[in-house]
């Protein structure tokens, strides 16, 4: 009886250690690098994680899936982020130049007060659609490392280019070109 109890305890202890080890391996192997940024870095075109988030300037939600068939410039930003203020006028100007063609600009406001985000959009006269993700749900899925960060999606909903930090005119031209040319 004593031997059986001891054996049970040992099996339990070894099982617990193995479970913790498996958890560690899983975290290291899968959790350290995001699929989107990892695949993109290897020259691949990962599917853009889908989302459906509340619109900031209008009522209702915007689903990324509804934009399938058009290239998308996806800009992650926050009102408290200094570099976001620098790049927003350029994004708006570029959007106005491209909006009649097969490309859509979408802003994703992350980890921010909704009221602050709306004030920011009004202050900079932003007209392209923006969605609100206060809880930062999209951050982990896209592998966003900081703000601002911009992803360029082709018409099939795949990420083809990414710019970490504020975009300049050359970044935008390169990203839009890749998104439109991607087959």
């Amino acid at each position: 009886m004593s031997g059986r109890l001891r054996l049970g305890g040992q099996v339990l202890a070894v099982g617990a250690v193995l479970a913790l080890l498996a958890l560690l391996v899983w975290k290291v192997a899968l959790g350290s690098d995001n699929d989107v940024t990892g695949t993109l870095a290897q020259g691949g075109k990962p599917d853009a994680p889908r989302f459906e988030l509340p619109r900031l300037q209008d009522e209702g939600d915007l689903a990324l899936e509804s934009l399938r068939g058009k290239a998308v410039v996806l800009n992650f930003w926050a009102s408290w982020c200094g570099p976001c203020k620098e790049e927003t006028p350029l994004l708006e100007r570029t959007w106005r130049r491209w909006q009649d063609r097969a490309i859509v600009f979408v802003g994703v406001n992350v980890k921010d007060f909704r009221g602050d985000a709306l004030s920011f959009l009004r202050e900079y006269g932003v007209t392209y659609p923006n969605v609100y993700d206060g809880k930062g749900w999209t951050v982990g899925r896209y592998g966003v490392t900081g703000f601002p960060e911009t992803y360029f999606l082709d018409a099939r909903g795949r990420v083809v280019y990414r710019v970490a930090g504020p975009v300049d005119a050359d970044d935008l031209a390169a990203g839009i070109d890749r998104a439109l040319r991607s087959a």
Binding site: W80, K111, D112, F113, G134, K135, G136
Partner: protein
């Protein structure tokens, strides 16, 4: 033997608990109705840097601190302010997990671990306390071999 007066003891215990409750309750209510920025900043986490607001100078943390002060001035309670921030940023802004839903596990599991650990220690202690009786060697007063006893006497005699 001194008689134990159970009702008197129970009454004393109840009075002690009541005294402690009365001593603790008013500040708790005051804290809920009129929270200070410092206590809220220590109970909320910056959603970007993930340290408590009182130790963070991240832009969003500074903005949240300003929001807390503004809401306190407007007369919002502690629960209201926390609920607003959870609504905006998710339950991750709370420094301690909520006592409901999945977060409840964070409170229950350590207690469960403590109970299971105590039970395991109890069982082991019980088993160890029994082991010496079972594994003990021959009793002290067991009969000694006469030849061995004689030999022992001879050996001892050499030292006298």
């Amino acid at each position: 033997m001194r008689r134990v007066d159970a009702p008197a003891h129970a009454l004393a215990a109840f009075a002690a608990v009541l005294a402690v409750a009365l001593a603790v309750a008013p500040p708790g209510r005051a804290s809920e109705q009129q929270p200070t920025p410092a206590e809220l900043e220590s109970e909320l986490v910056c959603p970007v840097c993930e340290s408590t607001l009182d130790t963070s100078n991240a832009p969003i943390a500074l903005r949240m601190k300003a929001h807390i002060r503004e809401r306190i001035e407007q007369g919002a309670t502690k629960s209201e302010i926390k609920a607003e921030l959870v609504e905006q940023f998710g339950s991750g802004v709370l420094a301690t997990p909520q006592k409901k839903g999945f977060d409840l596990l964070a409170w229950v599991l350590p207690l469960l671990g403590l109970v299971v650990g105590a039970a395991v220690v109890g069982v082991l202690a019980w088993r160890w306390s029994r082991a010496p009786a079972e594994d003990a060697g021959p009793p002290v007063d067991a009969a000694v071999d006469p030849e061995l006893e004689r030999r022992l006497d001879r050996e001892l005699a050499r030292f006298e």
